[in-house]
């Protein structure tokens, strides 16, 4: 494979200047990579796999028979809300009916809306560190204050109740947990979730549980929805979507599940912010959630194979990592290279045309860490690892 770089590649200082926050840094790197024809993108969490054919066929049918022409209600197609509720009862043990579900235009809109509905200026929201910084803007717009809860590699990035307990104040309104985690690929263990649930009840805070990667868990990991625990449904907002599970990022369908009295209010926020989610996308989502699920198992098997390739390769390169138990990322420590993660990401893109996000795009202190996505075929991952080895050979300190 030959590689090329644009003649006018920005300097690392210019890149720093472009990227005033974690999200902007990731987008700046993606835009640079997009200019390189043979770049290997191990950055964004956009599955490279196709949306399964039965889902596309369902969308096509909805277009042909005119259902896609009819605007859906603001809260979502009734059949889709029913199907989501049924899935949450069956797979997650969450006691929800259709009136406890709101369909949104992707998981990110779901988070944006529920933060605007829930958080008042001055409220504190506990957020695991490192974090998916794209949520920062929603919290900032609501006037909330993020309080970062450390998660540690030695705990496999589990979110420990003890760490949370130390940070609870009278202003604590909510805890945002993301399990499996983006970027760490860690999961919040069932034991920790039970402890967190007790804290939430004791200190009367709300839990926002982002479970968008729930279908990609690797042994010995185990997924538990906190809303299924005793006394938690009443104080938990579960957020999920179709993008990751079914390789449907382009369709923009997510959802929120919570007590109906919260969903009624959230629906007004949805109506005010975007009115409704595209009907054709909702019919595709309906086929995804009610149709055959073998595709999800196939995706899982694919990511499992890729994960092994990447972990073996990183070990050979001298990187350390905690075992990724979920999602489709590896969060790896590159300290052994003697190069900061930002600099290494820059060098990998400029010299090897491999796009990897530095840990600093998920929190300022993660200067030695890289988030590597598994969203390329195995042979491409192998090629990326070969290219990375070349860069490290030249620059390792």
């Amino acid at each position: 494979m030959t590689t090329t770089t644009p003649n006018q590649f920005v300097s690392s200082d210019e890149l720093r200047a472009l990227a005033s926050d974690g999200t902007k840094l990731r987008y700046a790197l993606m835009e640079l990579a997009a200019q390189i024809p043979d770049a290997i993108a191990l950055g964004r969490g956009d599955p490279d796999l196709d949306t399964p054919p039965h889902i596309i066929a369902a969308a096509e049918a909805a277009i042909r028979d005119g259902r896609a022409d009819m605007p859906a209600p603001a809260a979502g197609l009734p059949a889709l809300r029913e199907a989501i509720a049924a899935k949450l009862r069956r797979d997650n043990g969450i006691p929800v009916d259709a009136d406890g579900v709101l369909v949104t235009s992707g998981g990110q809109e779901a988070l944006y809306l529920l933060i605007q509905a829930l958080i008042d200026p001055g409220d504190e929201i506990l957020v695991p560190d490192p974090r998916y910084t794209s949520y920062d803007e929603a919290i900032a717009q609501a006037g909330g204050t993020q309080v970062l809860v450390p998660t540690l590699p030695e705990d496999d990035f589990d979110l420990k109740p003890e760490a949370i307990a130390q940070l609870i104040t009278p202003r604590t309104k909510a805890l945002l947990l993301v399990t499996p985690s983006n970027p760490t690929a860690g999961i919040v263990s069932p034991e920790s979730l039970r402890g967190i649930a007790e804290l939430a009840k004791q200190h009367n805070f709300i839990v926002i549980s982002d479970e968008i990667y729930e279908k990609f868990i690797y042994p010995p990991g185990e997924h538990l929805s906190i809303a299924s625990l005793p006394g938690m449904w009443e104080r938990t907002i579960t957020l999920n979507g179709f993008s990751k599970t079914y390789a449907m990022t382009g369709w923009r369908v997510g959802y929120v599940a919570a007590p109906p009295e919260f969903i009624r209010v959230l629906t007004e926020f949805k109506r005010a912010a975007s009115d409704r989610t595209a009907a054709v996308s909702q019919y595709a989502a309906l086929a995804a959630i009610t149709g055959p699920q073998e595709c999800v198992a196939e995706f899982h098997a694919t990511y499992t194979r890729r994960r092994k390739v990447m972990l073996d390769g990183l070990t050979a390169l001298g990187f350390s990592y905690s075992e990724p138990l979920g999602a489709f990322y590896v969060y790896a420590n590159a300290a052994s290279t003697g190069i900061s993660a930002f600099e290494l990401s820059y060098l990998l893109l400029r010299e090897a045309q491999v796009l990897i996000f530095p840990g600093t795009s998920f929190g300022a202190k993660w200067v030695d860490w890289l988030r590597i996505s598994l969203l390329q075929p195995e042979d491409v991952l192998q090629e990326a690892l070969r290219r990375m080895a070349g860069v490290l050979e030249r620059h390792r300190r």
Partner: protein, 369 residues
């Protein structure tokens, strides 16, 4: 009474923004600001083709798929509005999202001037979120004395069914320049204009290109309301913060819908106007017969009638609901004596006899022909 911690946390929120809601089950929808209908075959075929090529599977280019941004820029160029398709055009997930992100990003701490009447429901939440202050004004009277602020101008105006005439628009533009205001030109209803009605774009007036963000929509194209595609474009200083918020809120707009919109760009008012005008005339004939005044509609989608003599917009809407039809009372947008009736193809046949009954019920016996 809220019974859960979550219910209590939000018990007093979100109730005051919107009068409109989904049409209640069982009512014939004749009150919306878009036309329900059948998506044109060319749009269906193009979208299905895109889906089968897997163009809808993955995140789209964040500002919007490139050919659609170019198509928007080309349309604007035809109207003498120059924008860079790569940097100054962003595809939104429907007209309401375009309005929301524009106001939420640009109205922070500002006085937001909206002419009365206007579909203020569509603006209020974003202005609230932004910490702005929404202020009505009457374009026909002395304009408010202000320095700075934000002018929001729906044109065509879904509250009146009319375009803003050139002289009024020029007057407002001069005011905006003198007061150093930014302007959101909400032109999302423009695809509904009758072919013989000209729209003056705010951004084309002197001094306005650099201070105007124009909102447009594909949802107004009959049959495309459900696809949720709109756009915003204009001065980069205005586009950039709005784009950043849109992307923070939803990353990008649905790819499948964008391919539908791309095919829909070719749809013009002349394709659908004649049939729609006939439908609208069926409604205005009933109004004429009942002696209910209305201004000649500039769109082929709806007529706004003056129902003061029939008890006002709320009374008319309530009576219509009793007869199985949903219409929109103007009380939601500061014109309580008006009602908007939309000529939806799918429901018109059943709705006409019901509207006739409404008019008969509300017209004083001595005034009936």
């Amino acid at each position: 009474m809220a019974t859960t911690p979550l219910g209590r946390a939000v018990a007093e929120r979100g109730k005051h923004w919107l009068h409109a809601a989904d049409a209640p089950a069982g009512l014939l929808d004749m009150g919306g600001d878009t036309l329900a209908g059948i998506t044109p075959d060319a749009v269906r075929d193009a979208t299905i083709d895109a889906l089968n090529k897997h163009l809808g599977d993955h995140y789209a280019r964040r500002p919007g798929i490139a050919p659609l941004c170019r198509a928007v820029a080309d349309k604007l160029a035809e109207a003498d509005i120059a924008v860079d398709a790569d940097k100054d055009v962003v595809i939104a997930g429907g007209p309401q999202e375009a309005r929301f992100v524009a106001l939420r990003a640009l109205a922070a701490g500002k006085t937001v001037f909206v002419p009365q009447p206007a579909p203020v429901d569509s603006y209020r939440a974003a202005v609230d979120f932004a910490g702005g202050t929404l202020t009505w004004f009457d374009p026909a009277s002395a304009l408010p004395d202000t320095n700075g602020g934000l002018l929001v101008l729906p044109n065509p105006n879904p509250a009146t069914g009319q375009v803003v005439d050139h002289a009024t628009l020029a007057h407002l533009a001069q005011w905006a320049v003198a007061a150093d205001m930014s302007v959101i030109a909400d032109e999302t209803a423009a695809p509904l204009l009758r072919p013989d009605v000209a729209l003056t774009h705010m951004a084309t007036l002197p001094g306005m290109a650099e201070r105007t963000l124009t909102l447009g929509s594909f949802a107004a194209i009959p049959g495309m309301g459900a696809w949720q595609v709109a756009w915003f474009a204009g001065a980069r200083s205005l586009v950039t913060p709005v784009r950043d918020l849109k992307q923070a809120m939803t990353i990008c707009s649905p790819a499948a819908s964008q391919y539908a919109a791309l095919a829909g760009v070719a749809q013009t008012a002349t394709d659908v106007a004649p049939q729609q005008i006939e439908r609208l005339e069926a409604i205005t004939a009933l109004l004429d017969e009942a002696g209910v005044p209305y201004r000649e509609p500039h769109t082929f989608a709806y007529v706004v009638a003056d129902v003061a003599a029939l008890g006002g917009g709320d009374a008319f809407a309530a009576c219509a609901a009793h007869h199985g039809v949903q219409v929109a009372s103007g009380s939601a947008w500061g014109a309580p004596n008006t009602v908007r009736i939309t000529a939806n193809a799918a429901t018109l046949g059943d709705a006409l006899p019901a509207l006739e009954a409404v008019l008969a019920d509300l017209t004083p016996k001595e005034a009936q022909p």
